[in-house]
């Protein structure tokens, strides 16, 4: 039996069909953006701490998003087990000598796992395998890495030497002013003379300038020594605090740890600022081009404000007091 449909039924059917197509299309577009339809491989890694990792935290390989954390749980031996899913296409780079570390954001954002790819000689970790991990660095490790303590000690020694040298220079009987006095003595005969050399050496102005210069040098050195002492004092306080309040110091250390990283990143960024600026400008130009083409769209154009119109202004005298 052949079914017959009314116009209303046909139109309703067409409408439902169209809605369904639009829905499926939207799902396809969103899913594509979210990697819903791409295959993933599951791995595990363990850390001593959770480092604020949660389900959904990003997983990066050389700074590029390759997956996400799917589960965070505690093991029986009090470690944090993290389940991650990684896009299949990157799984071949996760090898037995790969290392997973938890990285903190520079200013905003949340912690993520960064995986350092393994070498081609190492074996590929099979799905659901364990990726070797490395704990986050602490302040002491950074201090060790950058040899900051050693450098501070060296700086302190330089400052002390500088203070000693300027003390010697300042001493009227010391080598510098001693020599200067000798020079004055030797040129005693010239003192009475009327020539330009005589006038120059006779002039107290030169001596006064030298004196002022050395005094400034002394003052600067003193300040530097004081600064060095403050650094040492601060360091001593930190050590004391470490003994007295480990929890607070841990937090402070974590903060300092981050600050130090920020500083390192900032230093790097500062060198890259011109390049970033150029890239930003190029980006904005690109956005402008896109906006221009969007404005050309016949559906959008009528909703745009009218093109700007310049007008001339005159000054009208108002009120009674002008």
């Amino acid at each position: 039996m052949k079914l017959q449909y009314s116009t209303m039924e046909r139109m309703t059917g067409a409408f439902i069909l169209l809605t369904l197509i639009v829905f499926l299309f939207t799902v396809a577009v969103v899913g594509r953006g979210k990697n819903w339809f791409r295959k993933h491989v599951v791995y595990y890694t363990t850390f001593e701490e959770g480092y604020n990792l949660v389900s959904g935290s990003r997983v990066k390989l050389l700074g590029t998003d390759i997956g996400s954390v799917t589960d965070v749980s505690l093991t029986k031996d009090n470690k944090v087990k993290v389940q991650v899913k990684v896009l299949t296409e990157y799984s071949s780079r996760i090898r037995t000598n790969s290392v997973a570390t938890v990285e903190s954001p520079t200013v905003i954002g949340s912690e993520y796992i960064n995986i350092r790819p393994g070498t081609s000689k190492a074996a590929v970790i099979p799905p659901e395998g364990l990726i070797p991990s490395k704990e986050k660095k602490k302040l002491t490790e950074y201090l060790e890495q950058y040899e900051i303590g050693e450098k501070l000690a060296h700086l302190g020694k330089i400052l002390e030497d500088l203070a000693q040298i300027t003390d010697q220079l300042k001493d009227p009987k010391g080598p510098f002013f001693g020599t200067f006095s000798n020079l004055q003595e030797v040129t005693g005969t010239v003192e009475a003379g009327e020539g330009s050399l005589g006038r120059l050496i006779k002039s107290d102005e030169l001596y006064e300038h030298m004196d002022a210069f050395v005094a400034t040098l002394q003052e600067t050195a003193d300040k530097l020594v004081r600064a060095g002492a403050s650094i040492e004092e601060g360091s001593a306080h930190l050590e004391k605090a470490t003994r007295e309040a480990p929890e607070m110091v841990d937090k402070t250390q974590e903060l300092l740890d981050r600050l130090l990283k920020v500083q390192v990143i900032l230093e790097k960024v500062m060198t890259e600022v011109p390049e970033i600026s150029a890239q930003a400008r190029e980006g904005m130009q690109e956005v402008n081009r896109i906006l221009d083409s969007v404005k050309e769209n016949f559906l959008i154009r009528p909703n745009l404000p009218p093109p700007p119109e310049s007008e001339t202004h005159g000054l009208e005298i108002r009120g009674s007091q002008n």
Binding site: R10, R301, P302, P308, T312, H313
Partner: protein, 326 residues
């Protein structure tokens, strides 16, 4: 609900209905989509955008900000050697300098505008330059020169009365006649200005015409008519959200109330005016209003104390920006 067999249409009819609906939809989309296209080249569009931005801030009373945009518009117009926009920018820079009492600078800009306009031969721009030079002369106390310049501006503006500030020049001349005590002439000029401004929809000029007519009536002792005109000016400025205009209207109404010795009513207007001038950073006006409030206190015992207004007398530092201009 069931359809009777006779109401059913065959496939061909269904297709025809759907096609017709589709065509209708397409026609609607195309008809709605045919908005005006910006045909101007990009740099000229930028010049106009900068000038429009300057105008926006000028009308809000944010003169420093407006000045920056007008300068940018001038430089941008140089890049494309667009004489019309250059003259306009010079005129606007002249107006904005004038309103800030930078007379020398204003004179230089307006002379430049006239100089470039000799190449462009634009009647409307010339009228604006002359009108603004007249305002400059008036502000500097050279009333005869101002009169001549405004009259000349009117003659030139007649060539293109719609966009040459014709009503504004009439208003200025009307104001001058009022100051000279030639009230009938003043009233006639101001009424003409009002009619012209109403026709063109220039609300600021309309409000000013009403204010000047109110001041003429006040000078003639007709307080009822003065009140009516000043209230109308306030109404228009309120509708246009012209903050500076509102403050001026409130001030004039306050002054009128003082003349009528209605001290309490005067206080309500002066209080709002002084506070508004304070927000706008118009220190000269704040001082004037403070003196009026002193009179009000002495004569009518309102306000009880002038202490709340003393803070307004402290001039803001150079980094101060009116809340309206942020």
């Amino acid at each position: 609900m069931f359809f009777h067999t006779s109401h059913r249409v065959d496939r061909k009819k269904t297709v025809a209905v759907l096609l017709a609906l589709g065509a209708l939809l397409l026609t609607l989309v195309v008809a709605c989509g045919g908005g005006p296209k910006n045909k101007l080249p990009p740099r000229l569009t930028e010049v106009k955008r900068l000038a429009a931005e300057g105008s926006y801030w000028f009308e809000r009373g944010c003169f420093k900000r407006a000045e920056r945009y007008f300068y940018q518009a001038l430089e941008a117009s140089r890049l494309v050697d667009n004489l019309e926009e250059m003259v306009r920018a010079y005129n606007n820079l002249g107006a904005v300098a004038l309103v800030q009492d930078h007379y020398v600078e204003a004179g230089e800009h307006l002379q430049k505008a006239l100089e470039f306009n000799s190449l462009l031969q634009s009647a409307s721009e010339e009228a604006f330059s002359l009108g603004n030079l007249g305002s400059l002369a008036f502000k500097a106390g050279r009333y005869q020169e101002a009169e001549k310049l405004w009259e000349k501006a009117l003659v030139v503006a007649k060539k293109n009365p719609q966009k040459s500030g014709f009503a504004m020049h009439l208003n200025n001349l009307g104001m001058l006649r009022r100051k000279q005590g030639r009230f009938e002439e003043a009233e006639s000029l101001l009424k003409r200005a009002l009619a012209r401004a109403e026709n063109s929809g220039y609300r600021s000029t309309m409000a000013n015409s009403h204010m000047q007519l109110g001041l003429v009536a006040e000078a003639q002792g007709d307080f009822a008519r003065a009140e009516k005109q000043l209230s109308r000016a306030l109404e228009i400025d309120r509708a246009a959200e012209n903050a500076f205009g509102i403050a001026q209207d409130l001030e004039q109404i306050g002054r009128l109330r003082q003349q009528q010795q209605l001290w309490e009513k005067a206080f309500f207007n002066l209080d709002r005016a002084i506070r508004l001038y304070g927000i706008l950073g118009k220190m000269e006006k704040v001082s004037q209003l403070y003196k009026l409030l002193e009179i009000n206190k002495a004569q009518g015992e309102v306000p009880e104390s002038l202490e709340p207004y003393e803070g307004l007398l402290v001039p803001p530092d150079e980094f101060w920006v009116s809340p309206l201009c942020r």
